[in-house]
């Protein structure tokens, strides 16, 4: 201060007077101010999200790439496991129940029984197999050894039967048990047959497979959460100054965390969309090869893309995992400061 003290004081006093009046006027307008509406809060969060993306686009992209890569692996894993699971289910569906008719059952009795069986809720179709047709099937089954069946053709001992194809998702053992309780079956049939051992093995295999998939899914999601969490931590570290200033200004933890959680949701959704896209690309590239390869079509008899349910679940899980990863990263940073 080069000027003399009284002169400076005088100058300050006059400026101070003007400023005080201006401040008082401004503060006068600051009483009873309205609060932000929910829509306003939403707009502010979106604006903050957009600002965050714009201010650190490379960090956002790097995190998005990590999330996309992670959820591409998850989506491809689901593509494989859902098709493998379907192949077991298809094998289960191929199992049939046969109701063998009593010797000498008349055509009207056979038709009556067929009608009763078709009416059952679990029945997809009921096909009559005559003794001759049964012999033909037997010969086909024997293949190169069909000569063994030659002696049977003169006096065919095979009984007539009705073969039931079951609806999807039907428990073959329960269906067979239910059929055995029907009066008409009791009256016109010798016995009810289904491949009990195969059904049991397939059921056990499916249960084991589903448990394995569930376990692997949790493991994979935990790894995904770790990867996304690390990426989020790095991304949020780029905003550490902003987080610290907001905290110093008295922002609540929720106020600081919300925009970053929203960013996590966006990254999770976009990452899962990319992941589903990658899985679709793989599906498109492999579908023809699977159909043409006899070995692969045995493994994947109905090669299909992810179900709508799986895609929606993947999007939601990705959004939740990314949001939680962001939440924990920011909370950690807020606590550190």
């Amino acid at each position: 201060m080069a000027e003399s003290a009284p002169a400076v004081r005088e100058l300050i006093r006059s400026v101070e007077q003007d400023m005080r009046n201006a401040l008082t006027s401004l503060w006068g307008q600051s009483t009873n101010l309205p609060s932000m509406t929910l829509l306003g809060k939403g707009e502010a969060a979106v604006a903050q999200l957009w600002r965050s993306i714009r201010s650190a686009p490379f960090t956002f992209l790097a995190t998005l790439c990590t999330v996309s890569l992670t959820f591409s692996l998850v989506a491809v894993f689901f593509l494989l496991t859902s098709n493998l699971s379907s192949s077991i289910v298809v094998s289960q569906q191929s199992l049939r129940i046969r109701v063998f008719l009593k010797d000498g059952a008349s055509e009207s009795e056979m038709k009556q029984l067929q009608a009763v069986l078709e009416q059952q809720s679990f029945t997809e179709s009921a096909r009559f197999i005559s003794a001759d047709a049964a012999l033909d099937e037997f010969e086909v089954m024997l293949g190169s050894h069909s000569a063994f069946a030659d002696g049977l053709s003169r006096d065919n001992p095979l009984p007539q039967s009705i073969e039931l194809t079951l609806r999807e998702g039907t428990d073959i053992r329960q269906a067979a048990a239910q059929i055995e309780t029907l009066d008409d079956v009791d009256a016109f049939s010798q016995f009810v047959f289904y491949p009990q051992q195969s059904a049991q093995r397939l059921e056990e295999l499916l249960a084991l497979f589903q448990q394995g998939v569930l376990f692997a899914t949790f493991g994979l999601l935990a790894v995904a959460a770790l990867l996304v969490g690390s990426a989020s931590k790095l991304a949020i570290y780029a905003h550490r100054d902003e987080v610290e200033i907001l905290k110093l200004m008295g922002a609540s933890v929720r106020r600081i965390v919300t925009p970053y959680m929203l960013e996590g949701v966006v990254q999770g959704l976009l990452g899962a969309m990319v992941g589903c896209g990658v899985a679709y690309l793989i599906y498109m590239l492999c579908a023809d090869s699977v159909a043409q390869s006899s070995m692969l079509s045995l493994l994947f008899p109905s090669f299909h893309y992810l179900s709508v349910f799986t895609v929606v679940a993947l999007l939601l899980v990705a959004a939740a995992v990314s949001a939680l990863a962001s939440l924990f990263s920011v909370r950690g940073l807020v606590r550190e400061q």
Partner: protein
């Protein structure tokens, strides 16, 4: 407004930043905290806005004991006061206007109202034409004026200023203190840490002098502080 009772602040392993500080600052006062670098000025301010906690003793601000307050309590206190930092601490990715209105945003005031009040505040500090600029585009003096405006816009009861003119020239120092004095004369309690003895001498207001964490003197109207 502020009451320190035998406050000691230690930093591990053995550094003592404040050593048995007892001070009381009443509502509406303008108080300088003076001392050389490392005297404990910034630590004293950080204890007041809850950035640090006292190792022993009691810090009471606006009737609240900060030793027992939780994070929400500290956040609420910070929203009710204004803080000016030596290094400005402006949000570099937000415009000048958004920086000035940050305290209002944290209070949940709608954007249109914030914008109106913010523009008035910028008019007052002579930066209305830089409303949309980003802080790095401003000079040091302009950034500090923005920081003071941000600290004042929500009518704080208490304004803490940590070396508010540390790196500024005489003209900018005067502009900043004009604002602080205007706020004080409008009823705001001001506590400013500074090592600028000439401004203390010129304004001749209450001054607490710290040295190595101890209160060396508390001068009601220092005509000269050595």
């Amino acid at each position: 407004m502020i009451h320190f009772r035998n406050v000691i602040k230690r930093y591990p392993p053995k550094e003592v930043a404040l050593d048995g500080v007892d001070i009381r600052i009443a509502e509406g006062e303008f108080v300088f905290v003076a001392g050389a670098s490392g005297a404990g000025k910034s630590t004293l301010l950080r204890l007041i806005y809850g950035k640090e906690r006292a190792s022993t003793g009691e810090v009471v601000v606006a009737g609240r004991n900060l030793a027992t307050g939780d994070a929400a309590h500290i956040a609420a206190l910070r929203r009710s006061i204004g803080i000016v930092f030596q290094d400005y601490r402006l949000l570099t990715r937000r415009s000048v206007l958004e920086n000035v209105t940050l305290a209002l945003e944290l209070q949940g005031i709608p954007m249109a109202v914030r914008r109106r009040l913010g523009m008035e505040m910028l008019e007052l500090i002579g930066l209305s034409e830089r409303a949309d600029a980003l802080p790095p585009a401003l000079s040091g003096g302009e950034q500090q004026r923005v920081a003071v405006a941000r600290a004042l816009i929500h009518r704080p009861k208490l304004l803490l200023a940590d070396e508010p003119t540390g790196n500024l020239d005489v003209k900018m120092t005067k502009a900043i203190f004009d604002l602080l004095l205007a706020a004080h004369s409008a009823g705001v309690t001001v506590l400013a840490a500074t090592h600028n003895l000439s401004i203390i001498e010129e304004l001749n207001l209450r001054t607490i002098v710290l040295d190595k964490g101890k209160v060396l003197g508390d001068f009601a109207r220092p005509s000269r502080v050595e």
